[in-house]
């Protein structure tokens, strides 16, 4: 493995981590808002709050890690993506900022007017993945032109491209599916039967659309970026395995069995698909201008970053383990028998 590949793999793994835990967070907000609208909020609010409260800041750090890391390993991305992403990334930051801070204001500060807040919180949870997913579309090429003054983004062609919209829709269905499967498991652990039943229903509803939209992307890519499409087909077996895992999850949820295993299979499913996509994207960071090789940092910086990364993991893994043990897998906490909030 070259340093370039190690670097991008590390970043891709953390991005995957962000996708999973942020999806749980975004989807939870949406379900909470939706159930408030339909008068069922008492069923979900507690379960969702108990999960989100201790971890929301950690979720955010996964994102920070990714964008700081990519500029570190691949400084040229700062030039290309930094220039063209000003508008979409700024919008995403503003949404993230409002969502994050108002979550803290409401949970820790007892902000009133909960209804309006719940609603905004729910909607922002869908807008953020939609706006972030644009980056993936842009990376497929043909939306960015590099002229004499630097790279520019063609907003109109981005807006009317079917690829854009299929990726946006996939991001939404995936968010809702990932989060409902996780929360089904969580609610089940909390011995909250009504919440489990409701969330299980959501999981089954969103399973189909996730698979359909994901397949849709492959079709869109064929027209938009044949080179990427070819490489994707070469990896058919990864996607095949992913679909098998998907069926496993749906089967278990449908049979009301082993929700934990169901969520594990889901993580596996997304992991395979995410890496299938990533590997077939290789070596491009931005078609056709930027590859991981010509954007890579110098050797001494790369080595230093990797050393720091390994040392950092040594700190991080035990701490994350402690967090998960105390809150995710602590029966008393999950079931709401403890409330030791400051």
């Amino acid at each position: 493995m070259t340093l370039e590949v190690i670097g991008i793999s590390v970043l891709w793994i953390f991005l995957f981590g962000y996708v999973i835990i942020a999806s749980v967070d975004f989807g939870a907000g949406f379900f909470n808002a939706y159930s408030t609208l339909t008068g069922q909020q008492h069923i979900l609010t507690k379960v969702i709050q108990r999960y989100l409260s201790p971890v929301w800041e950690v979720t955010n750090v996964f994102l920070v890690f990714f964008f700081v890391g990519i500029v570190g390993f691949f400084p040229k991305t700062a030039y290309y993506y930094g220039t063209v992403l000003l508008v979409p990334a700024s919008l995403a930051i503003i949404l993230l900022a409002i969502r994050g801070s108002y979550y803290a204001f409401a949970t820790y500060g007892g902000l009133t007017n909960r209804k309006r807040y719940t609603f905004i919180y729910g909607i922002s949870g869908l807008l953020i993945p939609a706006s972030l997913s644009i980056v993936l579309t842009i990376s497929e090429g043909s939306f960015v032109k590099v002229g004499s003054t630097g790279p520019t983004l063609n907003y109109w062609s981005l807006f009317k491209s079917p690829l854009t919209w299929s990726i946006v829709v996939l991001s939404l269905t995936a968010v809702l599916y990932i989060s409902s499967v996780f929360l089904t498991w969580y609610a089940h652990q909390a011995k909250d039967d009504r919440a489990t039943a409701l969330l299980r229903k959501y999981a089954l509803i969103w399973a189909g659309p996730t698979l359909i939209t994901a397949s849709g992307i492959i079709v869109e890519l064929k027209a938009h970026n044949p080179e990427h499409y070819e490489r994707l087909l070469d990896l058919w077996w990864l996607f095949g395995l992913s679909v098998i895992l998907f069926m496993g999850t749906v089967y278990l949820i449908w049979r009301k069995q082993s929700y934990g295993v169901a969520f594990g299979l889901l993580v596996g499913q997304f992991f395979l698909a995410f890496f299938g996509y990533g590997i077939s994207h290789y070596p491009y960071l931005l078609y056709p201008y930027l590859t991981i090789f010509d954007s890579f940092t110098n050797k001494s910086m790369a080595t230093a970053l990797i050393v720091v990364f390994i040392a950092g993991l040594g700190l991080l893994i035990p701490s994350l383990y402690l967090l998960v043990k105390l809150f995710l897998f602590n029966k008393e906490y999950v079931q709401g028998k403890r409330n030791n909030h400051a």
Binding site: V58, F67, P75, F309, G312, S319, L326, A342
Partner: protein
């Protein structure tokens, strides 16, 4: 939009975001240490008041952290969005501390989550206190790493530039640049100092508003003690910062001191105004600048005459320098008088006037932070990387920065109002007196 405008708006947006972030960031660096000290004193003295102090500070802290995190995420991305050329170059040399910073954030975020949700969960309260140590370490290390990046912008080293190509990059050497020791130490000391005075001002405000509870008096004494220690440290390290400048960035020191001609035994100019190149109404302390810069009254201090006009920073940074130093000296004196007074039982320190001065101390310290940063950053202009890259070469070529500036201004207004409203409401709804009573009855309930 022409590139001139893109540069202008990028600057304004950077200034706005950083000036806003730094308020919450400074508090975020200092408060965990204060909480730790209060909780430790509480456990040691078996004093419920200090424990409650720690607990209430924690609640407020969570709100400021939230705003710090989201504005920090904004600035982190904006660095690439607004200064792509700078980040491309800097990324090659100084990415290491930025990357380390994310681990500090991780560490802090994880343990903060655990800490706030485990009050009273452990039989042994010391275990709970232990969980705070990573929070305080994580917060201070975030400040250290980000300040290392900023120090590098002032004194870049650790690479060679051959025909526009970066070669021989040494990330460690880049981190340990000459600006780093004084800068990091001064930023940390002033963050602790500011947090202490902000907390002191809350205590004084409660006492003014009629509460006479001993809880607030203990809080005030503790925070003023911390404030004094760290304001002395800030002044001492600030003096070293001046010596660093004299050696490595003489144009910044000369601009801040309105020191136009290179001379021996240079006087220190305090206050005053600049009219048509003439300094008026200033206090001149003979030879003091030579002492500040080189520790001897006769040393030569380089003046602005040694620098090209287009490489001289704006002269208004002198006012910012005055503001920072005045606030530093004033807060040192104020906390010193308070401590002597409380030891000798002077009436003065429990007078309304004195308490109002303490209330004022919190906002003043924050102004000190802002003035200091503006002085340091504007004093580096026209460079973004001193001697290597000018600010205007670094900016984005994108045409939409003005709209983004408007959007972000709106965001910061919302966040500022939101955080202030939430914080005041949180503490007004749940006064100390009631919480102490609640806790006492809880305890009784537990022993019966």
């Amino acid at each position: 939009m022409g590139n001139e405008e893109a540069v202008l708006f990028s600057r304004v947006l950077t200034e706005l975001t950083l000036s806003f972030h730094i308020i919450y960031a400074t508090i975020g660096v200092g408060i965990p240490l204060m909480i730790m000290i209060a909780q430790w004193v509480g456990i040691k003295k078996q004093d419920e008041h200090y424990i409650l102090l720690a607990r209430r500070w924690t609640r407020g802290f969570v709100i400021t952290v939230a705003v710090g995190v989201v504005t920090g995420t904004a600035i982190g991305l904006q660095l690439s969005l607004l200064w792509p050329n700078f980040m491309e170059l800097a990324g090659n040399v100084i990415a290491l501390p930025l990357f380390m910073e994310t681990f500090a954030f991780f560490f802090e975020a994880i343990f903060l989550g655990i800490y706030i949700y485990t009050w009273d969960r452990f039989k042994n309260p010391k275990k709970h206190l232990l969980l705070l140590i990573p929070v305080a370490i994580g917060a201070s290390f975030s400040a250290i790493f980000i300040t290392v990046v900023n120090a590098f912008m002032n004194a870049p080293q650790g690479f060679d530039l051959v025909n526009g190509q970066l070669v021989n990059v040494n990330p460690i050497l880049a981190m340990f640049n000459p600006a780093m020791p004084t800068k990091v130490a001064h930023v940390l000391a002033t963050a602790y100092m500011t947090s202490a005075f902000v907390l002191a001002s809350i205590g004084a405000f409660r006492l003014l508003k009629g509460s006479n509870h001993v809880y607030h008096k203990k809080a005030l004494l503790l925070t003023m003690k911390m404030g004094l220690i760290f304001s002395i440290a800030a002044a001492v390290i600030g003096d070293f910062s001046g010596k660093y400048l004299a050696e490595y960035q003489p144009e910044k020191l000369a601009a801040a001191e309105w020191h136009f001609e290179t001379e021996k035994g240079a006087p220190l100019i305090l206050y005053g105004v600049l009219a048509d190149g003439e300094v008026k109404y200033a206090i001149k302390i003979p030879s003091a600048l030579s002492i500040l810069a080189h520790s001897t009254p006769n040393a030569e201090v380089i003046g602005l005459d040694q620098f090209a006009k287009d490489e001289t920073p704006p002269l208004y940074i002198h006012y910012l320098f005055d503001v920072m130093i005045t606030i530093g000296v004033w807060m040192t004196l104020l906390s010193f008088v308070f401590l002597i007074g409380s030891w000798r039982k002077w009436k003065l320190i429990s007078s309304n006037l004195f308490r109002w001065l303490i209330v004022l101390g919190g906002p003043l310290s924050i102004i000190g932070i802002e003035a200091g940063w503006w002085m340091a950053e504007v004093g580096r202009q026209p460079w973004i990387l001193r001697g290597l890259m000018r600010t205007k070469e670094a900016a984005t070529t994108s045409g939409q920065v003005d709209v983004m500036l408007l959007l972000f201004s709106g965001l910061y207004i919302v966040l500022a109002i939101g955080s202030v409203v939430v914080l005041t409401r949180m503490f007004r709804k749940n006064p100390v007196e009631r919480e102490l009573a609640d806790r006492a009855s809880e305890k009784e309930g537990a022993t019966v």
